[in-house]
């Protein structure tokens, strides 16, 4: 009897585990994770393998130049009050020298390693804490089939480090009385992020320098052309 009960429990556990595994996360197909691109436009392509609603945002990564200054005062009742004197200043993170490995380190978000030493990028600079500024979106997209894609080209982007953030939306959060409806009124089940560094497109170089068409053995080429002409 006890053995049967254990078997039954095991089956129930397996079924429960199965339903958990069924939940499929969206995949950011493009831009590739931790990739580096030349140019000012990117293709955002998100693959969805179940019926779900997603919210897609393109966020530019900024670094802090000057920290915010706060002033603390004590009122007559003896309560401390903090007031911002000057706001923090940010500038776009310079991605011109980033490699794919650097983007991966920045995506991990860790500034120090296990020993407490600062993590460094390939150019020797330390990994910094970055802040986001939304440049495109958020856009909500509802996938009504078992397999679907959200695709959009984002153009006229400036060079920098960008994050494609995909939030899987759940139930609508009920608004309290007196509160205004906002874009964030959905429960976010899961967030997927993909980092991409965008660099300025290098100037086009003439054929001799761009290395695409290397000079081939001209004698062999001549022979090939001759044979083609003879047997055509």
């Amino acid at each position: 009897m006890k053995k049967r009960l254990i078997q039954l429990l095991a089956i129930i556990m397996l079924l429960a585990l199965g339903t958990c595994v069924c939940f499929a996360s969206p995949t950011v197909v493009s831009p590739g994770a931790n990739s580096v691109h030349d140019g000012d436009s990117i293709l955002v392509s998100v693959k969805l393998t179940e019926k779900q609603t997603i919210r897609v945002s393109v966020i530019r990564q900024m670094e802090e130049v000057k920290a915010a200054v706060y002033e603390t005062t004590v009122d007559e009742a003896g309560n401390e009050q903090t007031k911002e004197v000057s706001p923090a200043e940010y500038k776009p993170y310079d991605a011109s020298k980033l490699t794919e490995a650097d983007v991966a380190l920045l995506a991990a978000g860790e500034t120090k390693d296990a020993k407490g030493n600062p993590i460094k990028l390939s150019n020797g600079s330390a990994v910094k804490t970055l802040y986001g500024e939304t440049v495109s979106g958020p856009v909500d997209y509802k996938n009504a089939s078992d397999l679907g894609f959200y695709t959009k080209q984002i153009s006229s982007l400036k060079p920098g480090l960008y994050v494609i953030q995909v939030d899987v939306l759940g139930k609508k959060i009920e608004q309290k009385e007196g509160e205004e409806a906002s874009e964030g009124d959905y429960e976010i089940i899961e967030s997927v992020k993909s980092y991409v560094a965008l660099k300025e497109k290098p100037k086009e170089t003439p054929v001799a320098d761009n290395g695409i068409f290397s000079t081939r053995n001209t004698a062999l080429q001549f022979l090939q052309n001759l044979l083609r002409s003879l047997f055509r």
Binding site: V29, S30, G39, S41, S45, K47, G148, Q153, I212
Partner: protein, 472 residues
């Protein structure tokens, strides 16, 4: 009034009455749907047909302009302008002097196109480069003339070169010339009325190893409208075509008609046969192959002459001329050739249930096969601009349909397996029109696969409308 005058008056009245009787009899017995055609009553000869010139036959399916950052714009209308420009650039290159032809790799081709500003004219099928030289009015008698190519590319990666691509084999070549031309400045200066669609490589969009281009979000004002088979109201078309095909031997041809009204004309024991369906489908087959060693252009001229002689092309309303949309050749010195032609509307190809509207096969310079299903329409219709179904989602939602048809399989495959297969097999996806069996012209996506099968999906909701296997 003297007797002579009275007699003349009587004669005139008699002639008028006689002619009136003929006209009334014709009106009484003519078929319900037939249009009144005076030339039929008093046989003045055939109605004039559109003269066919091979110069306007070749129009690219799409012109793909790269910005050099992986993104493309896809021009599917007004491609004639780009074709003219490409021919003039090629002529200029040849005037500088041709240096060499070299084979390049697929990687080099992709690098030159994706990493640099470039323009690619995609014809959707392969044809000899020598024919393009003939159209452009420049001489190419060397090895390049015999290359079968489906794409011509100009890239700022190599301003002294033209890249030729055979998408079917596949093969990639580079023609190197003595002088450089800034082709991209000329393509950028091309004034187009339509805003081209954006496109990316399929592997960027779908995440699978396919480097063909797929359009991104598109919008269109195309709507469906009713059309008529070309034989509608012209009950003499079939007989005229039969007379033209069989010529002097028409008196010895057997005419077999079935209860539906379809007619088969047969000469001898089936050496030559011509089928005329009441739905406007015509088919001719002949077992008499020729033995001449003809060239591409010569065979094309013969095919056009055959079309012109057998029904021709009646220019009515907005139905436009023909476009060459497929070609195949086989054999050695004496070649078998097949040409496919399609009608077009609003710069987009019109596919029919058989695929292409016209197919002409030649063997050794003689016509051995001919199929024809053409339509006519007086006024095309356009509606409001609406967003089209996204190409990626059309493939995703129809992947099982594509998988089953390409594998002749009625069992459903796992959705991921079917999707990977369908996405990997896709060669192109462009907007067009599909004429269904209910005589309705529907705006559609035309998805072509590696084996030449064409799938037609509704342009706005992505539902399947039909498919057609390769006719070549």
């Amino acid at each position: 009034m003297d007797n002579k005058r009275v007699l003349q008056l009587k004669m005139t009245v008699l002639v008028v009455l006689f002619l009136g009787a003929i006209l009334l009899l014709y009106l009484l017995w003519m078929p319900e749907n037939a249009e009144l055609n005076i030339s039929r009553i008093f046989d003045f000869g055939r109605a004039p047909v559109q003269t066919m010139d091979h110069r306007g036959l070749l129009v690219p399916d799409s012109v793909n302009i790269s910005r050099g950052d992986g993104s493309f714009t896809l021009q599917v209308r007004e491609c004639e302008k780009s074709m003219e420009l490409a021919l003039s650039i090629l002529k200029e290159y040849y005037s500088y002097g041709f240096l060499q032809l070299e084979e390049i790799s697929r990687e080099q081709y992709l690098q030159a196109l994706d990493g640099f500003r470039s323009a690619e004219l995609d014809f959707g099928f392969s044809l000899p480069f020598g024919f393009i030289a003939e159209l452009g009015g420049f001489e190419e008698s060397g090895a390049a003339a015999e290359l079968l190519i489906s794409r011509i590319c100009f890239s700022s990666a190599a301003r002294d070169s033209v890249i030729l691509v055979d998408g079917q084999s596949p093969g990639f070549w580079r023609l190197v010339f003595s002088g450089p031309i800034d082709c991209m400045a000329r393509f950028s200066a091309l004034e187009l009325e339509d805003e081209p669609a954006l496109a990316w490589r399929a592997d960027s969009m779908l995440g699978l190893g396919n480097d063909e281009l797929l359009p991104l979000a598109m919008s269109s004002n195309a709507i469906g409208f009713e059309i008529r088979p070309e034989a509608y109201g012209d009950e003499y078309l079939a007989q005229d075509m039969a007379e033209d095909i069989f010529g002097d031997t028409f008196d010895f041809v057997r005419r077999i008609s079935d209860s539906f009204g379809n007619v088969t004309y047969m000469y001898g024991y089936g050496e030559k046969s011509f089928y005329a369906g009441i739905d406007g489908y015509f088919e001719y087959t002949s077992s008499a192959a020729g033995s001449e060693a003809t060239g591409f252009s010569e065979d094309l001229q013969r095919a056009l002459a055959f079309i012109e002689a057998c029904g021709g092309l009646k220019k009515t309303g907005e139905s436009t001329g023909l476009r060459l949309c497929g070609y195949s050749e086989s054999g050695g010195r004496v070649k078998d050739r097949t040409f496919l032609f399609t009608q077009s509307f609003g710069g987009r190809p019109v596919a029919v249930t058989e695929g292409a509207g016209l197919k002409v096969s030649l063997s050794g310079g003689s016509i051995t096969g001919f199929t024809r299903r053409l339509y006519r329409w007086m006024t095309g219709l356009y509606g409001d601009v609406l967003p089209c179904a996204e190409a990626s989602n059309v493939i995703a939602s129809n992947s099982n349909h594509i998988y089953n048809i390409l594998n002749n399989n009625t069992l459903a495959a796992a959705s991921s397996e079917a999707f990977e297969f369908a996405a990997g097999e896709t060669v192109s996806m462009l907007p067009g029109y599909f004429a269904d069996s209910m005589d309705q012209l529907n705006p559609c996506w035309i998805l072509r696969t590696k084996d030449g099968t064409a799938f037609y999906f509704d342009l706005y909701n992505g539902r399947p409308l039909g498919f057609c296997r390769s006719q070549l």
